[in-house]
């Protein structure tokens, strides 16, 4: 009899300990909640269940079995969305054997063990967009991922594949044109474009080929298939442009072919802010370079305006601030802080690292704000996010704490 009693007790304990270990329900008691979607909430509670936000408000009943995170002296905001991040990819980001590679998917080259992912989580980013490189005129398809660990299969990280087609109108495709040392002169580096004219010509030709393909398919061509999808607005185009003249050309091209356009980098966007606003084209800004690094950036990025983000935002353009896929990325909170310093309105700057990139990437139903039903991607900060002295104390991704500072 005793044996059965012990067995029974043991059996009863097991499920209890199991649920306690899982901590399915988390309650975050926060001093200030920046929901982004609405007004800030003071002394509120966020209930997280199964990786989603179950409830959020001031009059929330906290269930018995919830594990409590006390952030009553802290500021809570949504996990940051990086619309153009340093790619967690080994090796070359560009398939350099051809300048037009629309069917190239950067998602098949993601390395879940990349240091980039581990670092970016610590800067508060919970969702990021990874793009193929900018050396090809049409680089390929980008992907939206969440840096979920432990690192295993890339499929587990992807939340939206084939998210956008990378097209470059900046001067990067002509910058790689030198033959690697000791290689024979008969290789593809010689075929690449060497002028801006050629870049735009290649782009127009590809769009033309796609249109031809749409009407008469003799042989399956996955590359042209992707371009057709882009022409039919099924896949947005992430266009890398820096100079004002190129931005105008881009807007014109978009109108001609009725493309769904997103402008990347947009260094001189401030010069043509109204035109961009008129065409309802969103913009993803990387860090500006006062003394630019790469030669193409230098050629095209010398007329910077520190208040690019502010001028664009005030003209009505949807602006996202990204860390920038270049070698010297900047963390998003610093980007937003300095954007405000240089003239961007505060609320727009906070949106620019959360809701706006989520909308641009087409995943606003899941991330970008603290609302009931969305993914539980939450940052707990020591103070106002737009202060340099504020620290990220905890990063929660899909309801799980993935980073904590002591």
């Amino acid at each position: 009899m005793r044996r059965y009693a012990i067995l029974l007790t043991f059996l009863l304990l097991v499920p209890i300990s199991a649920t306690r270990g899982q901590a399915d329900i988390i309650a975050i008691k926060a001093g200030k909640i920046l929901t982004i979607s609405g007004d800030p909430v003071t002394d509120g509670v966020i209930l997280v269940e199964n990786g989603r936000i179950a409830e959020i408000g001031t009059e929330i009943e906290v269930p018995e079995n919830a594990s409590i995170i006390d952030a009553s002296q802290k500021v809570v905001m949504p996990g940051l969305v990086d619309a153009s991040a340093v790619p967690p990819v080994r090796g070359d980001l560009n398939e350099q054997s051809s300048e037009i590679t629309p069917a190239l998917r950067i998602s098949s080259a993601l390395d879940p063990q990349s240091k980039v992912l581990k670092r970016i989580v610590q800067t508060g980013v919970t969702t990021l967009y990874v793009s193929p490189g900018w050396r090809n005129v049409i680089g390929g398809l980008g992907v939206v991922i969440k840096p979920t660990g432990p690192p295993r299969r890339t499929q587990e990280m992807i939340i939206k594949d084939d998210a956008a087609l990378t097209v470059v109108m900046g001067l990067d495709p002509i910058s790689g044109n030198r033959i690697p040392w000791r290689e024979p002169p008969t290789n593809f580096y010689y075929r690449r474009p060497t002028t801006r004219m050629a870049i735009i010509w290649m782009l127009r030709k590809s769009l033309f080929d796609a249109q031809q393909y749409a009407t008469s398919k003799d042989k399956e061509d996955p590359g042209l298939q992707i371009l057709c999808s882009a022409l039919e607005d099924e896949i947005p185009i992430r266009l890398n442009v820096r100079r004002a003249i190129n931005i105008r050309t881009a807007l014109k091209l978009a109108e001609e072919h009725d493309l769904k356009l997103i402008l990347d980098e947009c260094t001189e966007g401030y010069k043509v802010a109204e035109e961009i606003a008129q065409k309802n084209v969103p913009v993803v800004l990387g860090p500006f370079y006062y003394y630019p690094g790469s030669s193409s950036q230098y050629r095209e990025g010398r007329e910077v305006n520190w208040n690019n983000a502010g001028i664009l935002a005030n003209a009505g353009v949807k602006v996202a601030l990204a860390s920038g896929a270049q070698s010297q990325p900047i963390d998003l909170l610093t980007a937003a802080t300095f954007a405000v310093r240089h003239g961007m309105p505060r609320d727009k700057a906070l949106k620019a690292i959360t809701m706006t990139p989520a909308e641009i990437l087409g995943i606003a139903d899941r991330v970008g704000s603290l609302e009931k039903g969305k993914d539980a991607d939450i940052l707990i900060l020591s103070g106002d996010p737009l202060k340099v002295t504020t620290r990220i104390e905890r990063v929660i991704l899909n309801g799980k704490t993935v980073h904590k500072t002591d």
């Binding site: 560009n94 398939e95 998917r105 098949s108 390929g140 690192p151 295993r152």
Partner: protein, 390 residues
Amino acid sequence: MRRRIFPSILLSLSVFSHLVVAAEDTQSLAIRAGRIWTVTDGVITDGVIIVKDGKIHAVGKEPDVPAEAKILDMSDKDVIPGLIDAHCHVGLSLDIFAEIDEIVSAVTPDMQILDAFDPLAEDVTKARSSGVTTVMLAPGNKNPIAGQTAIVKLYGNKMNDWVLKRKGGVKLSLRDEALMSDRRPTSRAGLMALLREQLNEGKAYKDDEYDPCGEVLKRVADGNVPAYICACTVDEIASAVTLVDEYGLKAVLIGAEKGDEIADIIAERDIPVIYAPLLLFSKDKDLKRVVKLANSGIKLAFSSTAPKTALHDLRTSAILATKYGLNPEVAIKSLTIHAAEILGIADRVGSIEKGKDADLVILNGDPLQLTSNIEMVIINGHIVYKRQEE
């Protein structure tokens, strides 16, 4: 009269030729051994192995010993089946780095590695003392689709004796080595795109328009021929698994050094693994990985990638693995029968059973001890190596 002479001439000729052949045949052997590791049927203590016509005629405690058999007294020794190195490049060239990768073109499925094999090469002769008797030869890792593998023995009089399989399977590489700066692919994304492209072409191939590459690719894409995929880091293995899922490939992973991190995903799909060599200077945490793989139910074989490392390192790999927790029985099996099953040659090698090839290794101690020396190696019934006393 003429009618009877003709058949009798034929008969005598055949008898004569048979005698000639018989003269070339190996001598029958009766090996008395202290411990016989049959692999499939346990360890027989104080048993005898009868070798006849290059095959294992009988094995047991007291089998019938043929009259003409030469008796080898190994009553204090251990006998194991000849070891199988499931992936290496032995005998392929004087300068190995030059001959196993045809890198000018990224896709060369029609190339057969056997065409580059030199059975009289020095490293093959030297390799016999390692206890490895059967190897799978493969092209290198610098081509995404590198060519067809071959399975050979390290000894044979005639070509048929050497070669077990001329076209074993197709070698694919997902490594960074396959990325070049002057030919496609230059990036990892490009590598995956290329593989998918080629597999799609394989699937779509119709033999009314003969194309040697297409024919091979079709067999791979349809899962009729093994795809030996070289993938070592987690993302490479994951990419390999993705291709398996998409195309239904009959895949075997080569290398899989970090495979333990996604062992359940590999095990789910019953993908066997030919593990990379374990070396004495490898880190502890890396040496534990293969154990986790084996414990997840994945069928394992070892490889040496000779001559990058030595064939002798094959047995060392198994020994190191047991040091870090691999079940000794699984270790022996991974060197023998499992490797044979993965390579599809288990009907001929991999265990000491009646009817299989007489590939035997005689040691003066437990095969899983580094201190045990290999005293003798027999391939197809021939004694190909005998340890000289110093």
